[in-house]
Symmetry: C2
Subunit: 142 residues, 2 copies
């Protein structure tokens, strides 16, 4: 399975091409879990891509405005994390010890949200759910 090229993704999102935008999209596509802006900047530096940090912020803003990424808040590390939007949105188990993020495959919120919309006079359009605890590796080592 070959994924859409970053160049095409930019076109589809009606964003101008630039080397910097392509590189950041490439990096985000490789990630299996969300990363911080700091980690993103680190990867950029490791690969000698030479992208200014303020440019990274501006590009992430553009990606967010064009609905290409999700920026959420990771409580245990107290930092923002970024991920490309997936066809089906994801939730994570977050280990309070090693800070690892483990995706949950199915979003368990559908029924709950239906119920809330019925009971409360509120139109739901999104939600955030994170679950904290300890992963099997960290439980073993204690």
């Amino acid at each position: 399975m070959k994924s859409t090229s970053s160049r095409t993704l930019l076109e589809q999102s009606k964003l101008k091409y630039s080397r910097q935008r392509e590189s950041l999209l490439d990096i985000l596509k490789e990630q299996s879990v969300p990363i911080t802006i700091d980690q993103l900047d680190e990867i950029v530096k490791q690969r000698n891509l030479s992208i200014n940090l303020s440019t990274i912020y501006r590009i992430l803003d553009a990606f967010q405005k064009h609905d290409m990424i999700e920026k959420t808040f990771n409580v245990p590390t107290q930092s923002y994390v970024i991920e490309l939007k997936h066809a089906h949105h994801r939730h994570y188990l977050i280990c309070l010890d090693c800070k690892k993020m483990i995706p949950i495959n199915h979003c368990p919120m559908h029924e709950i949200i239906e119920q809330i919309e019925k009971e409360q006079d509120f139109h739901v359009s999104a939600h955030q759910l994170d679950i904290y605890g300890y992963c099997s590796d960290c439980i073993k080592n204690h």
Copy 2:
């Protein structure tokens, strides 16, 4: 129903008494929904309580370490919010328009968490859930 005095709450949490700590606890106890550090500072100023902002940060740290408050992240406003811990933890419907936070009375996560602990090798100890959308007032006005 009279709530425990802030002075007693401090004793129970094994924190030294101070005028500043008592005042902040008093303010937090009055709130029906979480508030930002900025809003807390505003209330302090309105009441001429004269508490330095760095002291507010230090006191909130102490409260958090002693498990007296919850500090979460409010996505629509992109800011931290603080609330006293309740006997039963709460989740909120957050209006993307007026930013109002509406508490949900019952946490709907129990069964979901049980299922996750069974399926995945992960010990759950906490979770965060926020639901975003539009409240009835804001729907009316559009």
